[in-house]
Symmetry: C2
Subunit: 223 residues, 2 copies
């Protein structure tokens, strides 16, 4: 009797997997990773949170992965050696893939200075049939350095901080990002809007649900 | 000019954080972690997928973290030593916390044999103000061993597999789980239903949205 139940159970297991299509129709969006990359202080987090807010206010489910929620939890065992920084980005890529698989529009906000690491993130998403877009948050080094809200550029210039991206560690700009956002020339809401347009054009959000969303508030959402 | 923009940006950053309440009203659910624990072959994955399917079919956003999507990606650098198994569960707990923070009902399906590790998972959720429930997937060892779909118990009995939970490695049953599900006595849909009832009673799903969901299909969802 138990054996029979177990066999039935295994069949059920295979039948009841939730498909991507089902998630997509539930959320009116394609689970996707929006991978921001750029110099320190280029505006990645500002852009990421402005975009997240805009998406959620329109009724879409977006979530930001950044240093604050990843470095202090999942990756708190990692330091800033070259090896640990690579492992940091590897894990972020894998977690982003899980979020995209769940149907979420996940926005990652990490310097991610090396092409190889970003290409790894892209590859694992493509292999899993998931949408991925690399967005270059582009601001000239001198602009980033003038912003320097935490004084890290200054420390790096004084030699008190070693291996700082843009000063004594390279930043490799993307060769072919899906989108380039110039944070020195546009405000965060303007940039969020540029990215929203891209998400619709690229099919991450359907045109229909996006048009309907313009005057939606979350409390008017799915009820 | 650039400086002024940056300052405004920082203000915006703080203003536009998406709150838990906003996510809750968007999704009609409380981002939560449903932590399954139990012996190998006790029915954790079967239960997890039956529950995920039931939730998604009712228009809720659920997602299963299990060996398949975690061990082959995020945790593929980990083996089965005591240290690596602990790190496996630590990372799962941290990733579950991120999913719950995003508003998802995340269901974890891992043996997670040690109380200390499960308590860690609970603690980091509580510290972040997130809902967490430990569900003991309870089946007698002899039932699990009779199921043994991958022949692992048999291997462990023959001594070909070392440190197998339930045979030569301990399983520590929860002292005070939120729910106990007896997979030897109930079918997967029955158990999924028991868990759904618990989720409503515990406030993870609001009574209202749950009642409304009974005749909802995903395509009838938020439009």
């Amino acid at each position: 009797m138990i054996d029979a139940k177990v066999k039935a159970t295994n069949i059920l297991w295979h039948c009841t997997q939730v498909t991507h299509d089902l998630r997509e129709s539930l959320l009116n969006q394609k689970g996707s990773t929006i991978w921001m990359t750029g110099l320190p202080s280029s505006g990645k987090s500002t852009t990421a949170f402005a975009l997240e807010y805009e998406l959620v206010m329109r009724g879409f489910l977006a979530y930001v992965l950044d240093g604050d929620n990843v470095r202090h939890g999942l990756n708190k065992d990692l330091g800033f050696s070259a090896q640990d920084r690579a492992e940091n980005i590897r894990r972020v890529a894998e977690v982003a893939k899980l979020f995209a698989d769940a149907g979420v529009l996940v926005i990652t906000s990490f310097i991610s200075p090396y092409r190889e690491e970003r290409d790894f993130a892209r590859r694992i998403h493509k292999e899993a049939g998931q949408s991925f877009a690399e967005i270059f948050i582009d601001a000239p080094l001198e602009v980033c350095e003038a912003r320097d809200p935490k004084g890290l550029y200054a420390k790096a210039r004084r030699g008190e901080l070693k291996g700082f991206t843009g000063i004594d560690d390279p930043y490799e700009p993307p060769f072919a990002p899906e989108l380039v956002c110039e944070t020195a020339n546009y405000s965060p809401p303007e940039i969020a809007s540029q990215i929203m347009d891209f998400l619709v054009q690229a099919g991450f959000l359907s045109k229909d649900s996006y048009s309907r969303s313009s005057n939606r508030t979350p409390s008017m959402g799915r009820k």
